[in-house]
Assembly symmetry: C3
Homo-oligomer: 401 residues x 3
């Protein structure tokens, strides 16, 4: 290596163990017991951005760049890395980031759900509650979403991890400062092990993940995706009904704008014999893109205007909030729409004993409070399931299976 003096050449064979940097995802830390590494200077983090080394991974091949400092001390940093997993610890998770529902197929969903079920059983001060001890999660919120933020932070802390919080992330890119999202991410990734980001712009999460050398979880990017919500919805259906194949699901309310129902419909195509009913005011009908996608995936669906009739047949009644802001000036249309399909005791009476009512929350009056006491009201258990799903995802992204 000493022979080389060019800026982008030399390559060495897997002689560097990452044992000593087991906790480090992107930093290239040299074990000073290692002859080769002795010559290394400061870790050049940028260059390991995409290596994502797991605790027990070894470096099998690493191409290096070399430059000479004036004191002709050799500084190196990796350019390209090939890893060979060793399985003494958890196998690496298939996903580097959680950005959109489309990332999840049937197999990975059921594997994640199994981990989530395990999370339900973790007890305080048990070894399980320390799985993420020493790990730091940054909740980078460009718009407040207290519910989602607390759910993620609870998940991290229930596993012994620590949290850096900001609901003030807009300040990064504030007029006065005007920093790019990419630069903010490069800064924050230096302080934490995983980033949970909420953003007002569709696609922001994807951009963040492309930049970050650490895992990124999309906690909602504007009109875009909110994948952990979609996952917890499917998980709740399985928990409540006991199966996913062959279920009948009614999606009720604002289907045109509801991010959740769209993602849910999308994920249900992973299962067989699913029947979906769309029940919504005309102003906010389910859009054709999803309908066409369901058809292409041979998922049966129909639109109905009769909530009672649908309620009597379905396993899941998924109610959503009609969002006033979608109607602009037309308050009249809004009032008409929101009053149209209310889940109340009358609806419960026709529902089957095993069926449940779900809702992404917050709810206004689209589900009356009298429903809360019924065992089939599953929406608060659904919110709690979000905790388990997020615990599972944090565990998988940080320490693998």
């Amino acid at each position: 290596m000493a022979a080389s003096s060019s800026l982008f050449s030399c390559s060495i064979q897997g002689m560097m163990s990452f044992q000593k940097t087991k906790t480090c995802y992107k930093e290239f830390q040299c074990s000073y017991s290692d002859p080769v590494c002795k010559q290394f200077g400061h870790s050049k983090s940028m260059y390991l951005t995409h290596s994502r080394l797991l605790p027990n991974e070894k470096l099998s091949k690493c191409e290096l760049a070399v430059k000479f400092s004036q004191e002709n001390e050799t500084l190196c940093w990796p350019l390209k890395i090939e890893n060979s997993l060793s399985y003494s610890v958890g196998k690496k998770f298939q996903l580097d980031d959680v950005i959109e529902a489309q990332q999840f197929d049937r197999d990975i969903l059921s594997a994640i759900f199994e981990v989530a079920r395990g999370m339900e059983k973790i007890e305080k001060n048990s070894p399980g509650s320390q799985i993420l001890k020493g790990y730091l999660m940054a909740t980078l919120f460009y718009e407040p979403s207290t519910r989602t933020r607390l759910s993620f932070e609870s998940a991290m802390k229930r596993l012994g991890g620590e949290v850096l919080t900001t609901e003030n992330a807009r300040e990064f890119s504030s007029a006065a400062k005007g920093e790019t999202l990419e630069d903010s991410i490069r800064t924050v990734e230096g302080y934490s092990d995983i980033i949970v980001m909420r953003h007002f712009e569709s696609g922001a999460a994807k951009r963040a993940a492309a930049t970050a050398g650490i895992p990124v979880i999309n906690a909602g990017d504007g009109p875009g995706q909110h994948p952990t919500q979609a996952l917890l919805d499917v998980y709740t259906i399985e928990r409540e009904i006991g199966k996913l194949d062959g279920i009948k699901v009614a999606l009720v309310g604002d289907l045109a704008n509801g991010r959740t129902v769209r993602s849910l419909a999308y994920l249900l195509t992973r299962y067989t014999d699913v029947k979906i009913y769309f029940v919504s005011p005309d102003a906010v009908k389910m859009k054709n893109d999803i309908k066409d996608y369901l058809t292409s995936k041979k998922v049966e669906w129909e639109e109905s205007a009769d909530l009672m009739e649908v309620a009597s047949k379905c396993d899941i009644l998924y109610q959503t909030r009609i969002q006033r802001e979608r109607f602009g000036e037309r308050i009249d249309l809004y009032e008409e729409a929101r009053g149209k399909y209310i889940v109340d005791r009358r609806v419960l009476e026709v529902m089957q004993k095993h069926a449940v009512v779900m809702h992404p929350l917050p709810r206004l009056d689209e589900i009356t409070v009298e429903v809360d006491a019924d065992p089939r009201a599953a929406y608060f258990r659904q919110a709690k399931n979000g905790l388990y799903i997020r615990m599972a995802l944090l565990k998988l992204l940080l320490v693998g299976w």
Copy 2:
């Protein structure tokens, strides 16, 4: 149980140990080694909302509801529970929540104070500093109160507990969302073990406690109560003077609107031979409800316009801030009122050697800075006592005596 198919029937005898869920307050977690539990599905948290199981409690009797999923898997959840305490661990605390000063009688006060004194002696990294390890407190603030929030969060962390914070809780019920307080609480209780709530509406804390399955501490609800402040005031008097019976307390400043002085006067009726002096501008005199209550409890009180004369007699000089906002347009009245009773060196000179000056903070100029250096200036020690009182309450509510 297999025999039963109705929705609200079967009942079993205490065969489920909560040992395995020692840390769980409201979740119904089944030990899978248990034949009965094997048939149980997902824990139905809502249904244990009011069981408040302590670490070492056992479930003696549990009535269950059963429903059959389509795969005729049996799902059960408890309807009614009877607990039998075992005393190997801390005995359960008498209170489920801390909502108002009225909850505290003389005996419970002195018991809490004893715990608080113990908290003063807890050292870093000692076993005592880990009492609440694994517990999660949610500070749900609907209006900012940095002083109170930091005091609670410090208390929790000094005992090894973790914190979920929001000063942005209004966002839950923001116009766009419009969620009820009850729904927000049901969501947050799923993420934490205890809720500390600050709200702008009187009575909000009571509503939260009625909903929550976990303990709720009122950190101030608008013009209503701020019970931990009242407790730390009484605790400070005992710490500084060495007794509570037979003390002479001067309440000075805004007695009409001061939440603290009203609660303090209320709690002082728990003790004997107490004498209270009211010293305030005419515009903000102590109201009759409290005066009548004191009389009914045989607590001697008198109104006085002579601060010096009162200062020379009392053990405690409790000064408060005159709040401009109470005077609306009448700035003139405000200026007259606030200038009237200032605690300065002249007042110190007439005070007895053992007497102390207290103040809930923040203070403006109603106590001059020259007073700070005098050993009898107790207001910063008083603020510190808030930490010990909150440590004690968190400990008692979460793990009992």
Copy 3:
């Protein structure tokens, strides 16, 4: 002691061990095994405000004030304290607080850098990662600075410490409340072990440190100082170039208002044979105070308008952001200034192989993104170095060398 009844007399010889309060910086906690202490009442924190006892310090001499409560229980508190260090644990750090760059001479800088380099090697769940376990840091931000706050909080948590956060500290001194900074500090010091303060007023940090009985770190006080930024800049130069003596540094951009470049120029006088180039638009030239100071310290400097020529000679190209707000109405001058000196690929081509580009961040377009991929782009590594410097300072202030 029983003999004495005066308010400011009695004195005892070092019979109180602080072993039992190893973690306590300002609290006067008595070991109850100690006959003298038995008589002591509540710890009088105010009176130890300036003792700054280290874990292993012993109290050699302590003058006490005594007052008798009515029950003639003796209450004491220390007035003056002399400490004798024992070196079984870390030797005490020379500084009580970190307020301004001027506090740091060459020796202390290199000692701190050595500690910081050690911090780079600390691994998750290693003993090193628990150095500050049990310590509580309060981040008291009177104006938001998410970048700086997250860096400090990450530093604290990477060492096992805990954090109390507020970006809302203005609320302390809000119109309605109007508390002095000193009072706020006296309150917060009761809840934490160290305060990291960001303030909008120059000199605020100094005032806070004068009041606080616990260490204070200045995280930027308005136009004043931001010492940890200055330290991380010097640290980065040493990490990247491998030395500080004899380096050539180009300071580019807004030199008139840039807090960072001014502090950096100041600290560079600690080293020998340093050459500084000032490259800036006329509107924002480096001011004479710094130029004169450099001259007085025999540090060579020159102004240049030719960025390319300087870039080809220097080891460090320190670029800064031109701040629009400095130009008021004169947008034209701003546009002219900011466009003038851009670091892009052309500049990289003339730079030496070992040289690096630095920037305090955030950056706008004064460094083009094409530069990011070049190994000589050091600005994100520089941000990461801030973490190690802050870890080092927190460690030194809380537990010493």
